[in-house]
C-alpha cells in the first residue's frame, strides 16, 4: 500500500513530511508551563511599573542612616518574598490605574513580544521549512508567514481569517485566542473585563512587529499593530461563529519611502 502511495507524493510534500518529523523530534516542554509563563508576564509588567513609579516617587533622602540600616537588613536576611504581591492583586491594580499607567504596562508587554518576535522568525526560517521561500517575498507572503507559521508555533493553530486591502492594511482574525481561553467570559463583556483583557493582547502584537522588523520592515513607526476583542456584530459580519474570544489584529504597514 505504501508503495502505491509514494509516487503520488510530490517532492514538496515529501519535504514537508520530513520537516514535520523534524519538528516533532525537537525538544519539547509542557504547554501549560508556557501558557502560565506568558500569562504571568502581565501581572509582572504591572509589578515592574509599580516598583519603578515607587522609586521615582520621591525617595531622594534615602541616604540617611535609616536607609542604610534597611539596606544592610535587606542584605543580611534572606527573604526574596518581601513585599510580594499576588498576581490577582496586580491585575486589580491595573484595572483601577489611570490610562498613562496602563499604557506604560502595555508598552512593556509589547516590547517583550517584540524581542520574542525578532528571534522567533530566525528560529522559524533557519529550521528549513520547505514551504518558505523568502527570495521574492512580497508583503502578502510575509503576512501569510505570520498567520501560518508564527501563529502555529505560538498558539498551535493558524489565524482563522486574513484580510487585506492590498495597500498595507491587514486584518488578522483569531476566533479562539489561546491566552484567554480559560477566562470566564460572557458574550456581552463588561467594560472592566474589556480593560482587563487588553494587556493580554499586547504580546502577540509585539510579536508581529518583531517578526516584521527582522524581515526588513525596520523603520520606526513603519508597522503599527493593534488588537481588539471583536464585538459580536463584527464577527457575525465576517460569517464566523460569534465568540467572546475572537480577537482581531489590525496591522498597518507603510511602504518604504
Amino acid at each position: 500500500m505504501d508503495a502505491s502511495q509514494r509516487p503520488e507524493m510530490t517532492e514538496h510534500q515529501k519535504q514537508q513530511l520530513q520537516f514535520q518529523l523534524f519538528q516533532d523530534s525537537l525538544p519539547k516542554v509542557n504547554e501549560i508551563v508556557y501558557r502560565m509563563l506568558l500569562n504571568e508576564a502581565i501581572p509582572m509588567a504591572v509589578n515592574v511599573q509599580d516598583r519603578l513609579s515607587e522609586e521615582s516617587g520621591g525617595h531622594e533622602d534615602n541616604e540617611t542612616e535609616q536607609g542604610l540600616e534597611q539596606d544592610l537588613d535587606a542584605k543580611l536576611t534572606f527573604d526574596p518574598l518581601k513585599d510580594h504581591v499576588p498576581s490577582h492583586k496586580l491585575l486589580q491594580k491595573y484595572l483601577t490605574a489611570d490610562e498613562e499607567y496602563q499604557n506604560k504596562v502595555d508598552e512593556r508587554l509589547n516590547n517583550i513580544g517584540f524581542l520574542l518576535g525578532q528571534k522567533l522568525s530566525q528560529l522559524l526560517i533557519f529550521s528549513n521549512n520547505p514551504s518558505l521561500n523568502f527570495r521574492d517575498m512580497d508583503l502578502l507572503a510575509v503576512m501569510k508567514f505570520v498567520c501560518r507559521d508564527v501563529w502555529r508555533q505560538l498558539f498551535g493553530k493558524q489565524i482563522d481569517n486574513l484580510k487585506t486591502n492590498h495597500r498595507g492594511t491587514f486584518y488578522l482574525l483569531d476566533n479562539n485566542y489561546k491566552p484567554v481561553e480559560s477566562f470566564a467570559l460572557d458574550e456581552d463583556m463588561s467594560q472592566e473585563e474589556q480593560t482587563l483583557i487588553e494587556p493580554y493582547l499586547e504580546i502577540p502584537c509585539g510579536v508581529i512587529r518583531g517578526v516584521l522588523d527582522s524581515l526588513g520592515f525596520q523603520e520606526k513607526g513603519q508597522v503599527i499593530c493593534t488588537a481588539s476583542i471583536t464585538s459580536d456584530r463584527e464577527s457575525q459580519k465576517t460569517g464566523s461563529s460569534a465568540s467572546s474570544r475572537a480577537v482581531l489584529f489590525n496591522v498597518q504597514i507603510n511602504p518604504d519611502r
Partner: protein
C-alpha cells in the same frame, strides 16, 4: 489514578521505578507539548525586558523573577496534583523524588539529579544538568556576577511547596551560566505548616 496509588504504597524499590514509569506515561500520553526553543526564547525576552526596565540592577531582576515564579507555582501545583493524583509525601526524601522524577519531567521534560543532603536531612540540592530555560543563553560580564538567570524556578518551587504545607527556602547555589561546574538549586525545609482547624470545632 489507582495505579499511582498502588505504586506509591508498594515497597520503596518498586515505587521508585513506578514513579518514573508513571511520569513518563503522563508526559508521553497526557501532555500537550510545545517547542522548547520557543519557551527558551520567551523566557529570554522577559528577562531581557526586565533587565532594561530595572536598568541592569540585577538584584531587583532576581527578586522580580522570584516573585513571578511564586505566582506561577501556587497555580501550577493545582495542575500537578490534578494530573498526577499523588498522595501527600511522608518525608522530604519522597518530596525530592517527586520533584525530580515527576514534576520536572512532566513540566519541563528533564529529570534532574538529587543530592548533597544535609546531615539532618532537612535540605537537599537539585542538580540541573539540562535547563530548558537557559539553553543557548550566554550572560554578559556584568550580568554574570549578579543575575540568577533561572531564578523563576526557585519561585515556582517555593510557591508550589508552600501550597502543600511545606515552608521552604529555595535558592540557586551555583549556575553554569556563571562559570560554575554545575547548576545547583538548593531546597531547605524550614517547617511543615500545620493544618488549620476552624475555631470552635474539635
Amino acid at each position: 489514578m489507582s495505579a499511582s496509588m498502588s505504586g506509591n504504597t508498594a515497597s520503596s524499590s518498586s515505587s521508585k521505578k513506578s514513579l518514573k514509569a508513571f511520569s513518563d506515561d503522563i508526559w508521553k500520553n497526557k501532555t500537550a507539548k510545545i517547542n522548547a526553543e520557543l519557551f527558551t526564547l520567551t523566557y529570554g525576552s522577559i528577562v531581557s525586558q526586565l533587565c532594561t526596565d530595572y536598568e541592569r540592577d540585577f538584584a531587583k531582576v532576581n527578586k522580580q523573577l522570584y516573585s513571578m515564579g511564586y505566582n506561577i507555582g501556587v497555580r501550577l501545583i493545582e495542575d500537578f496534583l490534578a494530573r498526577t493524583a499523588l498522595p501527600r509525601c511522608d518525608s522530604l526524601a519522597k518530596t525530592s523524588e517527586v520533584i525530580s522524577k515527576c514534576a520536572f519531567k512532566i513540566f519541563l521534560n528533564v529529570t534532574p539529579q538529587i543530592g548533597n543532603w544535609s546531615s539532618n536531612k532537612d535540605s537537599f540540592s537539585i542538580f540541573l544538568d539540562e535547563n530548558p530555560l537557559s539553553e543557548f543563553v550566554e550572560l554578559p560580564m556584568d550580568a554574570a556576577r549578579e543575575l540568577w538567570y533561572s531564578n523563576i524556578l526557585c519561585g515556582v518551587l517555593k510557591g508550589a511547596l508552600e501550597m502543600v504545607q511545606m515552608d521552604c527556602d529555595v535558592y540557586f547555589a551555583s549556575d553554569v551560566l556563571k562559570g560554575d561546574q554545575t547548576t545547583e538549586l538548593r531546597v531547605k525545609l524550614n517547617k511543615i505548616l500545620k493544618d488549620e482547624i476552624p475555631a470552635g470545632e474539635d
